[in-house]
């Protein structure tokens, strides 16, 4: 069974969350924004901490591409 949360987690706030995510790096150059995203990745991975959850997330990210 999946340990990774795959159900919506922001309730009615999904749009507001997404707007904040975009706004947080909106003023940055592409280069700086990519650095920002890399830092965010490490911060969130550490926050999650659970290696199994992270592995599931990595696999999910790898599965879904065009």
């Amino acid at each position: 069974m999946s340990k990774l949360t795959l159900t919506p987690n922001f309730g009615r706030e999904a749009d507001a969350f997404y707007a904040e995510l975009i706004a947080a790096q909106a003023g940055l150059s592409d280069e700086k924004a990519a650095d920002w995203l890399a830092r965010l990745t490490l911060i969130l991975c550490n926050h999650i901490g659970d290696r199994e959850v992270l592995r599931e997330a990595f696999a999910l990210a790898s599965d879904h591409h065009d």
């Binding site: 990519a34 650095d35 890399a38 830092r39 990745t41 490490l42 911060i43």
Partner: protein
């Protein structure tokens, strides 16, 4: 210090053409072969060590000697000298671009005889080992003996050796190949040596600072390890600075994948790189070389009566100092087993356990070494960006510091699943489990590590027990009892290579006998 030599002499064995059968022939007189020779000699096994050279190799090789290695060398009588002559450093600083990302203290745990590590040039360590070997009548160290042929059958091994006086045959019960990464013995055995070859080139420069020169504020009296990622004086690459003995400093420049090796050998160019890094030209260049490295191991460490140890068996990157240290630990693991088999006390399975335990250690070391190398030399733009993120975050947050990897210091590998272990039957709240190294502790006089003597030893906490082998009684309170999570009546069976074989909350003579048999490769 003048380095000792081991000049070629023609032996009676050569002149007579009658091979004299030897219990053990060691091929290769580097730190691993010499350590093994000393270990076997102390167990009264006569040894012949052959080497294709007649002197200690020059130049920059191993520098850092970790605690476990120092404990092994101490048992063989050279550890105190190496620890005394070596440089002890405590502070490591990691720089990223223009800034210091963070600094760390090694903060070694106190109450151990040996420090976490010391830095000393490999030739200085080898000089100590060669002198000890040459003083030991049970060891014959023969220079200019090149192994060119090897055959074995059930009863022994025949070595075909080339010398300045031509070819001759030697005969041995056991042969140990300690002949380095290009091991001719391994080639003769037809063993594969596979793994990852890293394309990056690195430049080593050993420099001696002029008196009074303090580059970038570095105080030569307080040596530190400095590691730069992407420094302003060497953009896009990494640089490592390490202290060595006698005022020598090791600088390691990453040159990248496309480096022009011939151009990089130019001395003026090297000096310019060093001057840019130190911010001064107040130094003398003592040695330089360009290298490339691999992380790989032989498919097997035992083929019948031939065993592989050290670089002949496995190769790692220099980050983490896992090459020479793991080689010395191979020798530590193998010496007592070979001696026990030769004396008829140990089963042949003991030598299989050498292979299993040291392959596990090699894979562990290769894993650490590969991960450090991948951090130092990212393989993609995104890997580089994630590394930059880790380094940027490390300057401000605690969580990112452990992600920064400029090499993880060599530590002994636990062999929790070794066939020599007797698994715990009792519940333990701590202490070293079977397969873990036995920690040192201070005794009323001296150190626990000094009392193990490279023999099976029963540690009895709180008083003597009815055991007819080597026993060391320890108090049931104090540092040793804490480190071993021991209660009055607890007992640990320690192997000759200072690995825990078994432990009990209460001593039981029959259980100890069974554990001893198992640890000798003779499970009952």
């Amino acid at each position: 210090m003048d380095l000792p030599r081991y000049p070629y002499h023609q032996t009676l064995e050569q002149r007579s053409g009658q091979p004299q059968r030897r219990p053990v022939v060691i091929v290769g007189a580097g730190p691993v072969g010499l350590t093994l020779a000393l270990d076997l000699a102390r167990r009264d096994v006569p040894v012949v060590v052959i080497d294709d050279s007649d002197r200690i190799g020059e130049g920059s090789r191993a520098v850092c000697w970790a605690k476990k290695t120092l404990e092994v060398l101490d048992r063989l009588g050279v550890g105190e000298a190496v620890a005394r002559e070596g440089v002890r450093w405590q502070r490591g600083r990691v720089f990223h671009g223009e800034r210091e990302a963070y600094a760390f203290d090694l903060l070694p745990e106190s109450h151990h005889k040996m420090p976490a590590m010391v830095n000393l040039q490999q030739d200085q360590v080898e000089a100590r080992l060669v002198r000890a070997v040459q003083l030991d009548e049970r060891i014959e160290l023969r220079g200019k003996h090149e192994l060119i042929g090897l055959e074995q059958d059930e009863s022994g091994v025949t070595l075909n050796v080339r010398t300045p006086d031509g070819l001759f045959d030697m005969r041995a019960d056991w042969v140990v190949a300690c002949d380095g990464a290009r091991s001719p013995t391994r080639t003769l055995l037809g063993l594969s040596f596979q793994g990852q070859v890293f394309e990056d080139r690195f430049l080593i420069a050993d420099v001696r600072l002029a008196p009074g020169v303090r580059p970038r504020g570095l105080d030569p009296a307080k040596p530190e390890r400095w590691f730069w990622f992407d420094p302003p004086f060497h953009r896009g690459q990494s640089v490592l600075l390490h202290a060595q003995a006698d005022g020598l400093w090791r600088i390691d420049f990453q040159l990248g994948r496309g480096a022009d090796v011939e151009a990089e050998r130019d001395e003026d160019r090297i000096k310019a790189r060093v001057a840019a890094m130190l911010g001064t030209d107040g130094f003398e260049l003592a040695w330089s070389s360009i290298y490339q490295f691999c992380c790989r191991r032989a498919e097997r460490f035992r083929v019948g009566r031939v065993l592989l140890a050290g670089d002949a068996a496995h190769q790692v990157s220099p980050f983490g100092a896992r090459g020479a240290n793991s080689g010395v630990q191979d020798a530590d693991n193998l010496g007592w087993k070979l001696a026990a088999v030769l004396r008829g006390e140990g089963g042949d399975a003991l030598l299989d356990s050498y292979e299993a335990e040291r392959i596990a250690a090699a894979d562990d070391n290769i894993g650490h070494s590969t991960r450090a190398t991948d951090f130092i030399s990212p393989k993609s733009a995104l890997s580089l960006r994630l590394r930059k993120a880790a380094l940027d975050l490390a300057a401000h947050t605690e969580f990112a510091k452990p992600l920064v990897n400029s090499g993880r210091l060599s530590m002994p590998t636990d062999v929790g699943d070794s066939m020599l272990n007797t698994p715990d039957a009792d519940a333990w709240s701590g202490g070293p489990a079977p397969g873990c190294p036995a920690p040192d502790a201070p005794l009323e006089a001296g150190w626990l590590s000094e009392q193990l003597h490279g023999e099976f030893t029963l540690l009895a906490f709180g008083g003597a027990v009815d055991f007819d082998g080597r026993m060391q009684v320890l108090p049931s309170d104090g540092i040793a009892a804490q480190r071993y999570a021991a209660q009055p009546g607890s007992a640990y069976l320690i192997r000759p290579d200072a690995v825990v074989a078994a432990r009990w909350q209460r001593f039981d003579a029959a259980a100890v006998r069974a554990a001893l048999a198992r640890a000798h490769g003779r499970p009952q």
